[in-house]
Structures are given as C-alpha cells and as structure tokens.
C-alpha cells in the first residue's frame, strides 16, 4: 500500500524538478532581437540575418539562432527569395499561407490571419472522436467485470499466459491512437481551407470554398458593423480547450445577409481589428506589438492568482 504512494510522490517530484529545470525562459538575446524587430520592422519590411546582426552589432550566428526561435513561435516568417518578415502577432497562418496572403493582398500589412475551424465545435465531430474511446472503455469494463460473459469470451481468445488487464488496457490505448488519428485527419481536411485575412488597406479577404484563394472580399469602407457570437459549445471550448474560438459576423453595406466567419481563433481580437480598420484607428498595433509578440512566444503575460498580470 505504501509503496504505490511512495512511487507516486517520487514520480511527481522527479517530473516537477525536471520541468522546473528545463522551463523555457525568455533569453536576453532573443528579447533584444525581438525588440529591435518590433521597433523597426513592424510594417512588413523584409530583413535578413546579416542586416539585423549588423544593426545590433552582434554575431551573425547568435542572431540567426534567435530569429529561428522567433520563426518557430510564429513571430517572423521566412519567405523564399524575399527574406524574413515580422508577422503581426495575430497572424495564425502557416508560412505558405502567409506568403499567399501577402501575394494576394499585394504586400499589405496583414493585421489578422487565421483559419475558420467549424469542425472544432461540431457535435458530430466531437462524438465521432469520443465514440471510439468510449466503445473501447465500455468493452473493457464489460470484460473486466465479466458482464454478459464478455470476460469469458476474451479470456477464451487470449493465450493462457496473457494478462487480461494488460490486454484490455492495450485495447483502450489503441482506441486512443485511432481517435487521435481521426482528429488529425479532420484537422488536416479542414485546416488551411477557409482562411480569413484582414489587411490594413485591402480589408477582409476570405476563402469561399475549399479550393478558393481568398476570392471573398470586404473592402475597408464597406464594413457597416461587426458583431461577435460565442455559442455554448464554443464557450465550453474556450473554458476548457486550447485555442479560444467564436463566430465573427460582418455586416456589409449593400448586402442583405451578413458574412459569418465561423469558429475563428481569438474572435474578440478579430472583432477589434475589424473595428479598428473600420474606424481607421490602429494606434494600438504599434503600441502593443511587443506585448503581443511576447504573448505569442508564450513568455508573457503569466497570470497570478486573481487573473492579474505579474511583471
């Protein structure tokens, strides 16, 4: 009885200590490079490693390492034959799609870019994913407690020296893998199909079909009103899931029905970006670029008790 408690405590202590020691801290060099980029390259001006190294008076390899780190976090994007771009922190696109967005908006400042993910809050999708695992768990429970003779049936199938408990856990583990693959498949199928791009001059560009290349357009001046809607499944996702999502509704002048962007990541931010370009008020962008970039890096803000930010 005591041995299992001891193992649990030792396991916790080892895991906690390792995570504590290997916790990724903001490093000074990357912060310095980030500050420099944010202050001088916010408006989509390309830059090279050599140029930044020269401007900062730092070793090229050190700067390159820092830029690669920023690239992995989605702060900068490398576009072939053109160099590096500093992305706005609210751009959640793959480098390939970011490049496409820049091309189609004629190098506009992309303020927000993301994919709609309606599948994320689809009950059919959620149930399909859970179904495989629940089925495996129910089957294992029936076998473990020998309900309706399922246990005897499984034992009859297994070789004599095979462990029933191990086998049942094995079935559940395989079901988890199948559910994960289904999840990855759905994500692959729907991701990068329905992009929403907000450019400073070009307004809103969006995909209208799976094979589309941002043919849907809402010019800046045509935005009559913007609304946000978060349904109960989205709310649950936002409370307990990873990336918060919601619907953003754009009312366009001269159009009867509004355009709805379904389950876009960070809908409140998209709402504010749209309101900002509608009102022509983008002062916040430069002012908070550093904070947003640090948030994107996962370095800031860290919340303390009560949800307040600790500096």
């Amino acid at each position: 009885m005591l041995d299992i408690i001891l193992i649990a405590l030792v396991g916790f202590a080892v895991g906690f200590t390792l995570a504590w020691l290997f916790f990724v801290r903001p490093d000074e060099i990357t912060l310095k490079v980030l500050d420099h980029l944010v202050s001088r390259y916010l408006d989509e001006r390309t830059f090279s490693v050599d140029k930044i190294a020269q401007e900062l008076g730092m070793d090229k390899k050190v700067v390159e390492k820092a830029i690669k780190k920023l690239e992995r976090a989605g702060i900068v994007a490398k576009i072939p034959k053109r160099g590096y771009f500093l992305q706005d922190p609210l751009v959640f696109l793959s480098p390939k799609d970011y490049e496409k967005a820049l091309r189609l908006t004629k190098d506009d400042n992309i303020l927000y870019g993301a994919y709609q993910a309606p599948y994320k809050v689809s009950l059919a999708y959620i149930i399909a994913q859970l179904f495989v695992v629940i089925l495996a768990v129910v089957f294992s429970a029936f076998a473990y407690f020998n309900i309706f003779g399922v246990g005897d049936m499984v034992r009859g199938f297994l070789p004599e020296n095979a462990s029933l408990e191990l086998f049942l856990l094995f079935i559940i583990a395989l079901a988890i893998i199948v559910a994960d693959v289904i999840n990855n498949f759905f994500r692959w199928l729907t991701r990068e199909r329905y992009s929403v791009i907000v450019g400073f001059y070009s307004g809103v560009s969006y995909d209208v079909s799976v094979t589309d290349e941002l043919s849907g357009k809402i010019p800046r001046g045509a935005i009559a009103n913007v609304d946000i809607n978060v349904n109960w499944i989205q709310k649950l996702n936002n409370f307990f899931g990873g990336v918060p999502v919601g619907d953003v509704i754009v009312y366009v002048r001269g159009r009867k029905t509004p355009i709805v962007f379904r389950s876009v990541p960070y809908p409140r931010e998209l709402y504010y970006v749209l309101r900002s370009i509608q009102l022509g008020s983008l002062q916040w962008r430069k002012k908070h670029a550093r904070t947003l970039a640090l948030w994107r890096m996962g370095w800031f803000p860290f919340y303390g008790y009560g949800g307040r930010r600790r500096r």
Partner: protein
C-alpha cells in the same frame, strides 16, 4: 488615451484570460473534480492501487483542462502529475503481470508508449505543438520501438504469416506515428 483606446489595451494585453473563467473558479472547479473523484473511488470496489492510479489519472487529465494558469509553477505541476501517473501505471502493470512472456512485455511497452505520449501531449502544449529536430527524432524512435513491440505482439497472439504480420504492424505503426507527430496549434 481615450476610453475606447484604454479598453482595447486591456483586452489585447490580457488576451487569453478574457476567454477563460476567473482563476478562482478554475481552482474551485478542479478541487470539486478531485473531491468527487475521491468520494467515488472510496466507495468503489477497486483495489487500493487501482484507486490511486484512477485518482492520479483524473488529476492529471483534468488539470490542463480546468487550470489555465501559465507559468513555471503551473507547468511544472502538470509535468509532475504526468510523471506520477505514468510511474504508478508502470508499477501497477508490472505487479499485475503474472508471467513475463514476450506478448505481455510487448503489450506493456505499447501501452506505456501510447498513454505516455498522449498524456504528455495533453499536459504540455509546448511538446504537443513544438516542431523541432529533437521532437521529430524522439517521435521516430518511439515509432521504431512501437513497430518492434507490435510485431512481437502480433506474432505472439495471432501467429500469422510473416508478410501479413509486417503489413498489419506497418499500418498500425503508421497510425501511431501520425498520432504522435507534432501538431499545428491553429
């Protein structure tokens, strides 16, 4: 700074907290889950070891879902819970194996690999979404181990033709690889 600008500042700076419940609610909810689990397990017919394992699993699974704090302590607690659950699971399964046959050992390896990777991805977003050389190599090594263990399992339990065994093994290993490769967050 105008009122509208100030409002925008707050919302943009505390970008994620706007979507999450207050920290107090998160902690209370997590505590309730743990208390309910404890009560249910106390009255369940399971052995003490299984009760501890079930409790740890619930604690590890629900921690990242309910507690949305970011930072060194919160992240370390998540990994600590993961390590604790996996250690207890390994110990529990080892004690349950009556005979260490190749089939049983192969199943043990596969279970530990799948549950270990899936639970680690669940508790750590950095590891789930991280795309660097080390993680790709780690995934390739894990898949190779999975391939070997699955081959032994299939050969031990089903005694199929070697070609068919390799074919099923390759298909399942591919599924495992697809499931564990780093994902895109958006």
């Amino acid at each position: 700074m105008s009122e509208a600008e100030e409002l925008r500042f707050e919302l943009l700076e505390e970008i994620e907290s706007a979507y999450r419940p207050p920290v107090t609610v998160q902690l209370v909810l997590y505590s309730i889950i743990l208390i309910v689990t404890t009560v249910v397990l106390l009255f369940s017919p399971f052995s003490f070891d299984l009760k501890i394992l079930a409790f740890l699993f619930v604690a590890t699974y629900f921690y990242p879902l309910t507690v949305k704090l970011r930072g060194k302590i919160a992240g370390s607690i998540a990994i600590g819970l993961f390590a604790s659950t996996i250690s207890v699971l390994f110990y529990y399964l080892i004690t349950k194996i009556q005979e260490f046959t190749i089939g049983n050992i192969a199943m043990l390896i596969i279970i530990m690999e799948i549950l270990g990777v899936e639970l680690l991805h669940h508790v750590s977003e950095r590891l789930k979404f991280g795309r660097n050389k080390i993680l790709w190599i780690a995934d390739a090594i894990l898949t190779a181990i999975f391939f070997g263990a699955m081959y032994e399992f299939l050969a031990f339990f089903f005694k199929l033709d070697i070609f068919l065994t390799l074919l099923i093994d390759a298909a399942l290993s591919l599924l495992f690889f697809i499931a564990v490769i780093p994902e895109k967050p958006f």
